[in-house]
């Protein structure tokens, strides 16, 4: 496993970079605050689909490109650099990923080609508690006739308001907090007993709370094995954490570069502020953290592709480290900009906000350190 980009990956990076430059400015985020529709630019979504990005990790028989997370990571990093809002993690990694890993042949045939060409948007409804806790599932799925009845409330469902299908995690047995007893179901959000609340997050992305009021689904809606849903869920959430880390890495790098440029031009007390050791040494330490984050993202993306034995451990190392670095970057980026950094007018605050939301999605640093400790016997 080499931790540098192949020639093909460099080309992909260039193309993603050009895509962002041609189609998007960070300032678009301010407009999205007032948007009440899908919450992402639909024309861009179509272009991303045309470029094949939504097809990256899927097998060719379902319309995919048969590539891996190493490639998806390259794209996400560039989009993160530009703070582009597109539901790739939701549809390709979460919803599409659950089907890729656990779906029946029928489910895959029905949905994955649409995920790949962008004509359908999938997502995952997992979280119920304030803080990420994947087995704390109270939503129940009760067997009834040839199907199940789902009842419960999900929060922070990424792009749930715009989804065409939602993979819902429900409890079919066991007690709150048990790893076993979870089952995944494919649910149609337009069904009459599903209620979707659209929430604008602080970084202008959108997530939904989803109420399931005795929603009836057919037995064919089960994704993966009944009661063993955690096998798929753990993998999907780890993949989402790593994919999101790539997006965060882009934001971290851009925050660092914007700030470094500022340190080189802003003058105070008759000198460039970048000449003050007080700021300079902090910038150097921040640089080290950024480089370490970059390395662990590259390594973990590849570990997922190679199905390495320690991939889930690395995913926790990756998300914990990148979350900490994102927090540091948000803090230093704003602080080093001084007054202008806390105005809504300047972009640096937008990077901090995106980093903050991502930090807390799919488990924050504390969650992943704890998880790593359990896996490793600490």
């Amino acid at each position: 496993m080499s931790l540098i980009l192949t020639e093909e990956q460099v080309q992909l990076q260039d193309s993603a970079n050009a895509f962002v430059a041609d189609n998007w400015t960070v300032g678009e985020l301010r407009k999205l605050r007032k948007d009440t529709g899908k919450g992402y630019p639909e024309a861009l979504w179509q272009k991303a689909a045309e470029l094949g990005w939504l097809a990256i990790p899927f097998a060719e028989e379902y319309g995919g490109l048969g590539l891996g997370f190493a490639e998806l990571g390259v794209v996400l990093e560039e989009l993160g650099r530009g703070l582009v809002v597109l539901p790739i993690v939701s549809s390709v990694v979460l919803g599409g990923g659950a089907l890729r890993l656990g779906g029946t042949e029928d489910q895959k045939k029905a949905w994955l080609p649409k995920v790949c060409d962008g004509s359908a948007l999938l997502t995952l409804a997992s979280q119920e508690t304030s803080r990420h806790d994947p087995y704390a599932v109270q939503t129940t799925a009760t067997r009834q006739g040839n199907g199940y009845v789902l009842k419960g409330r999900k929060v922070l469902v990424p792009d749930g308001h715009a989804a065409d299908a939602i993979v819902v995690v429900a409890r079919t047995s066991g007690a709150l907090g048990d790893r076993s007893g979870l089952t995944l179901f494919l649910v149609d959000p337009s069904a009459p007993d599903v209620k979707v609340h659209r929430n604008l997050l602080l970084d202008s992305r959108v997530a939904a709370n989803v109420e399931l009021n005795d929603v009836r689904v057919d037995a064919s809606a089960v994704v993966g094995t009944v009661d063993q849903g955690a096998d798929v869920l753990d993998q999907v959430l780890a993949e989402a954490a790593v994919a999101l880390s790539a997006d965060m890495l882009g934001g971290i790098q851009q925050t660092f570069e914007i700030t470094l440029d500022y340190l080189k031009v802003r003058e105070q007390f008759g000198a460039k502020i970048g000449s003050f050791q007080g700021l300079k040494h902090r910038a150097a330490r921040w640089f080290c953290e950024k480089e370490l984050s970059k390395s662990i993202v590259l390594q973990t993306l590849r570990a997922l592709d190679e199905k390495a034995e320690n991939a889930l451990q690395l995913a926790s190392v990756c998300k914990a480290r990148v979350s900490d670095t994102a927090r540091l970057s948000g803090k230093e980026g704003v602080q080093m900009h001084g007054g202008i950094g806390v105005t809504d007018e300047h972009d640096i605050g937008l990077f901090m906000k995106r980093g903050r939301v991502s930090e807390m999605l799919f488990g924050d640093a504390a969650f992943h350190r704890n998880r790593f400790a359990q896996m490793k016997g600490y």
Partner: protein, 399 residues
């Protein structure tokens, strides 16, 4: 002690005779604060009546000399006054930047005429003051300001721009640093002026922050004419006034923070944590978060002890001096860290900016976290405080 006791008797009698019953107790009609000035409104006529009586006795600024609108009482007597007012659940409501920051500087630097005029009007709540210090290009290097004041007969003509002017759009007068000698070394060409915000040529525009709308404004001066008599202290020596004023500001921030930010955070951090993560065998289940919370709480207790020690020293006649910078630095960073923790603990609800399905409390946590990012920047960045501590407290050589 006899004097204090008789003063207490006197105050009780005066309060009994003058404080309307509607202005006492838990459900009184008083506003939280009276900022004063031409925009002041009153929620109830009794509140206005009570305020007028306080003004008449000099009790809005009790320790100021009578000649300047105070009551001329001692700190010990003032303590009694505050205790007696607290006892019946009333208070003196006047609060604005004029009292805590400008007034001490005027006492030290203004002419007798200026003191009589401005201190009296401030004490009577007739002026709400704002502060014209920062400029967009200057930042931490306050003294490199460029707003110009050019002498023209008996007036200065002001042109330029200020930023971070709190409440400029609702204030009456401004105390303002301007450059009167562009040729002199930067600290030696600055003057300190007072003028009416309704003067022709003054305009303001509110600043939106990362946390949303804010009390801060940009303020523009386009050929604003200010009489020379409204300059405080010698021409080109305004930096002396500014420095004294900044010291008062830091002291006020350190002390003010005590009741508000730290206090509010203390009440809720553990509560927020319990609500968000519950308890397992009576303990917070997330050990990593628990550790961070405990560290924060311990820091808070140590900060409180330090504040108390400094106040005790001040009571014993040892002034605060440049350690004020330590309080500004530590308090702003500690509160920022507390707000960060609270937001992280609160979890998904605190990520929601707007939405119909989310409690307002959590949304508020996020706005406070963002607003707190300004606390280590505005009023002197943490880096400036570190410079001040290393130079003025530790005596380390300059860069």
């Amino acid at each position: 002690m006899a004097d204090v006791d008789s003063f207490r008797t006197e105050i009780r009698a005066w309060l009994a005779a003058n404080c309307p019953p509607t202005c006492q107790g838990k459900s009184n009609v008083l506003p939280d604060m009276v900022w004063g000035g031409r925009r002041q409104t009153w929620p109830h006529p009794d509140a206005k009546l009570w305020f007028d009586r306080l003004v008449e006795k000099g009790f809005t600024v009790p320790t100021w000399p009578k000649a300047y609108g105070g009551a001329g009482i001692s700190p010990a007597e003032n303590k009694v006054l505050q205790e007696e007012m607290a006892r019946i659940g009333t208070r003196s409501m006047l609060f604005n930047f004029g009292i805590g920051m400008l007034a001490p500087a005027l006492m030290e630097f203004a002419s007798e005429d200026q003191k009589r005029l401005h201190l009296n009007r401030t004490a009577r709540g007739e002026i709400r003051w704002c502060q014209g210090y920062s400029e967009p290009g200057a930042g931490s290097d306050l003294a490199s300001l460029r707003t110009s004041a050019v002498r023209d007969g008996d007036d200065y003509v002001i042109n330029g721009q200020k930023i971070w002017t709190s409440d400029a759009n609702v204030s009456d007068w401004i105390f303002c640093l301007v450059r009167t000698d562009p040729e002199a070394p930067k600290h030696l060409g600055i003057s300190f002026l007072l003028f009416d915000m309704e003067s022709p040529g003054v305009s303001t525009s509110p600043i939106e922050l990362i946390s949303g709308s804010s009390p801060f404004c940009q303020t523009f001066f386009d050929n604003v004419r200010v009489p020379v008599t409204q300059r405080v202290h010698t021409e080109n020596r305004g930096w002396d006034v500014a420095k004294a004023l900044l010291n008062h500001e830091r002291t006020m921030l350190a002390d003010g923070g005590r009741g508000s930010a730290a206090g509010a955070a203390r009440k809720s951090l553990l509560q927020v944590a319990r609500q968000a993560m519950g308890a397992s065998e009576g303990r917070l289940p997330d050990a990593a978060m628990r550790e961070e919370l405990v560290q924060w709480e311990m820091d808070r207790l140590c900060y409180e002890a330090t504040l108390k020690r400094t106040m005790d020293a001040a009571k014993a006649g040892k002034g605060m001096g440049p350690e004020g910078s330590m309080f500004k630095l530590y308090l702003s960073e500690m509160n920022q860290r507390g707000a960060d923790l609270r937001q992280r603990i609160a979890g998904h609800e605190a990520l929601v900016w707007t939405g119909d399905d989310c409690p307002a409390d959590e949304r508020q946590i996020t706005r406070e976290w963002l607003y707190g990012k300004a606390s280590t920047i505005l009023g002197g960045t943490s880096e400036i405080q570190l410079n001040i501590i290393s130079k003025r407290v530790l005596g380390l050589p300059g860069d």
